[in-house]
């Protein structure tokens, strides 16, 4: 890395936001490189769809570019990114439920016979798919809290500020979300799917 590039990379988020407000696209690129993991992780955990997560990643940073003037450079950027990502992910999920669920029900009905095939069974036996289904089965409000807590390691207080809900509500949603996930994944009985155990070693 050249010295100039190292200086640019070493800039704080605050300095980069000031640059972004002045119209610098380089600053946007550096912020993207620095925080894309955070946004993508959150989006995919809430939506369960990698293509949607990629689109939401774009959308969040385009909004950062468009509304840079409204972002306070003296405050940490992460809460703004988390808030934008969860809100856009919620919108995506709600829109999908409204428009696609009826179509998916029809498709499932038409493909009813397919469920007997070995290929379909193999697909459903995929343990990671079970994890995804367990997360996606959570109510949206519980899902957001669970994702911010377990995937992003945020504290209850941080989640409360990001989602703009009381800490007590965060605790309650986390409790019910956690119980539902553990039950679906067999963690309450101390069991764990063999394929997933490999990942922990």
């Amino acid at each position: 890395m050249s010295q100039g590039a190292a200086v640019v990379e070493a800039k704080s988020d605050s300095q980069l936001i000031f640059s972004l407000q002045a119209g610098s696209l380089d600053a946007l690129g550096i912020l993207y490189d620095r925080h894309r993991g955070l946004v993508f992780r959150t989006a995919i955990a809430i939506t369960g769809d990698s293509e949607a997560a990629a689109d939401l990643l774009q959308d969040v940073f385009l909004r950062l570019h468009r509304f840079a003037g409204h972002v306070d450079p003296l405050r940490p950027l992460e809460p703004w990114l988390y808030r934008m990502t969860t809100n856009l992910s919620y919108t995506w999920v709600k829109r999908r439920q409204r428009w696609l669920r009826p179509l998916e029900d029809v498709a499932d009905w038409l493909a009813g016979a397919r469920k007997d095939t070995p290929a379909y069974q193999a697909e459903m036996d995929d343990s990671w798919r079970q994890v995804q289904q367990a997360v996606l089965a959570l109510p949206l409000s519980h899902r957001g809290v669970v994702v911010l807590y377990y995937v992003n390691d945020l504290s209850l207080q941080e989640i409360s500020e990001i989602l703009d809900i009381p800490v007590g509500t965060v605790k309650s949603r986390l409790h019910y979300g956690r119980q539902a996930l553990k039950q679906r994944l067999g963690l309450l009985a101390g069991e764990i799917m063999p394929e997933l155990q490999i990942e922990f070693t």
Partner: protein, 86 residues
Amino acid sequence: MHKKSDALLGKLLKNWVNRHAPPDNGRARLLWEAARTSPNKVDLDLFLYRPQYKSYSSSPSSDWAQTLFTWMNECSFQGSLKVRLI
């Protein structure tokens, strides 16, 4: 037991999410879209006439017609200009 299963749940969810990665072309796509919608037109010029994936100087001299044709097409795409060859 509660803490153990809690830690396990956290690892499980992280492992599931980490199986996916952001797209490789995300940065280029973002900057192009941001430049296109930016009121600051100077930024867009950064993307014009700057081939990102090919080095035209490495083409043999006999390929000049093909190189020119490719260059014109890419410039027209990047700048949203329509070039019509008759």
